[in-house]
């Protein structure tokens, strides 16, 4: 599945992703982008190959003491294997997950179970998913022309477009596009034709205009609550 993405994670993010060094939430959204984007898939593959040099026995620079591990074999082979018929995996793989008619990338399948949608403002709905303690992840649905509240961020907000498109003062974004917004951007996204996104925040949003500002202290509390959970 390839879409023509015009907005991608930075190489540093892709490398950290390949090294499995990002929080789960951030890894999930990058994985979803990578599934949609051949360019980034190739880059991640190159970073992983670089990682693999440590894996080659000849590349080991320090000779570490390796204890006797063979005792494990007995325990492992006494455990049942999964059926080679791979019925279960095939069944899961075939069971594509859809949200609002959009087929989800694999990394989002687990997160998208039992979504609870709640209304944020007119035409904007969100469904939070608990993926880790370090980020806040949610699906966001914007109805046609619904103005979302203008906001900046305390931290970084990553957004991946899964269906439809939206635009803000910096550009317009379609399926597969990956955006990063941080405290230096104030933006007010609008969708002309409706839009489903997955968003990951590593700090809470801060609304800058109008009534939604009242949510600021609450959001912050909620986020802290989320972290402490």
């Amino acid at each position: 599945m390839n879409s023509k993405s015009n907005h991608h994670p930075s190489d540093i993010m892709l490398e950290n992703f390949a090294r499995r060094e990002l929080p789960v939430g951030t890894s999930v959204i990058i994985s979803a982008h990578v599934e949609l984007c051949g360019r980034c898939r190739a880059r991640v593959a190159d970073f992983e190959r670089r990682e693999m040099r440590e894996w080659h026995p000849e590349a080991a620079t320090v000779d570490v003491h390796v204890p006797d591990l063979e005792g494990m074999i007995e325990g492992i082979i006494s455990l049942p294997r999964q059926q080679p018929g791979r019925d279960k995996e095939l069944a899961t793989a075939a069971q594509d997950r859809f949200v609002n008619g959009a087929r989800l990338p694999r990394a989002l399948h687990q997160a998208a179970v039992n979504l609870q949608w709640s209304r944020l403002t007119d035409g904007i709905h969100q469904a939070k998913v608990a993926v880790d303690h370090e980020t806040r992840c949610e699906f966001i649905h914007m109805a046609e022309n619904a103005p979302s509240p203008a906001h900046t961020h305390y931290g970084r907000e990553y957004t991946l477009v899964l269906q439809g498109s939206f635009h803000d003062d910096l550009g317009s974004y379609g399926v597969g596009d990956f955006l990063l917004r941080d405290a230096s951007h104030e933006h007010q996204p609008v969708s002309d034709n409706g839009c489903l996104c997955f968003a990951v925040l590593d700090r809470p949003l801060r609304f800058t205009r109008g009534l939604p500002r009242l949510l600021n202290p609450i959001n912050r509390l909620r986020f802290r609550g989320g972290l402490a959970r």
Binding site: R20, V24, W55, H56, V66, D68, R81
Partner: protein, 234 residues
Amino acid sequence: MEHILRFELSGLLPGCERVAPNSARRGKAAVQHGRTWNRDMGQEFGHAEAASDEELLSEVSHSGDASAFALLFARYSRRIYRIGLKLTGNEQLSRDLVQETMLTVWQKAHLFDLDRGSADNWIFTMTRNRCFDLLRKAKRQPVCVSADDIWPPGEEAESVSETENPIERHALLSRIGGMLTRLPAEQQAVIKQVYELDFTHEEAARRLGIPLGTLKSRLRLGLDKLKYFVGPDK
């Protein structure tokens, strides 16, 4: 050119580690499904030590062959442990990593698909994924999304250069394999250090115990010769 070499080389030089048989443990037996397993069973059951990792993995997948698994264990467990130590700095976690990864190999070998890559790659991905899950567990993070969903195993994506020009690259690759072996051994060695193992020139020179200048000239000679074999750029 550089990418082409690197990937061709990784095919030529399978990174599999042979572990010297430990005579003290020879004969230690385990019972599995009414059969007895010991170190020498590989040979008894017709697994030459030379069987490829892919063949062994598919034996495990199709018949749950304990001796094939034991051979894979011998080839990979030390490497997994060493990576674990590097990633976690903890001996117990590294042992757990060997346990979890080899358990994945045993239980999920059927997910490995020959068409989609090498066994080496698949086991490496599994190692990194199990390590990610183990560290999450150690930090008491929820594990509702499995690492295998985030970094799906078995899918070997093409490299950047491959996506740029797949057909031409493929044709060239199949020719370069033979060409490399026509280079003098010392030129093959530097090309391997730089293009397969991805070391900097300085690191490669240090590892080979040769001066940097020597390394650079061998590299240039080797690459020039390969370019000559390949023919002029179109």
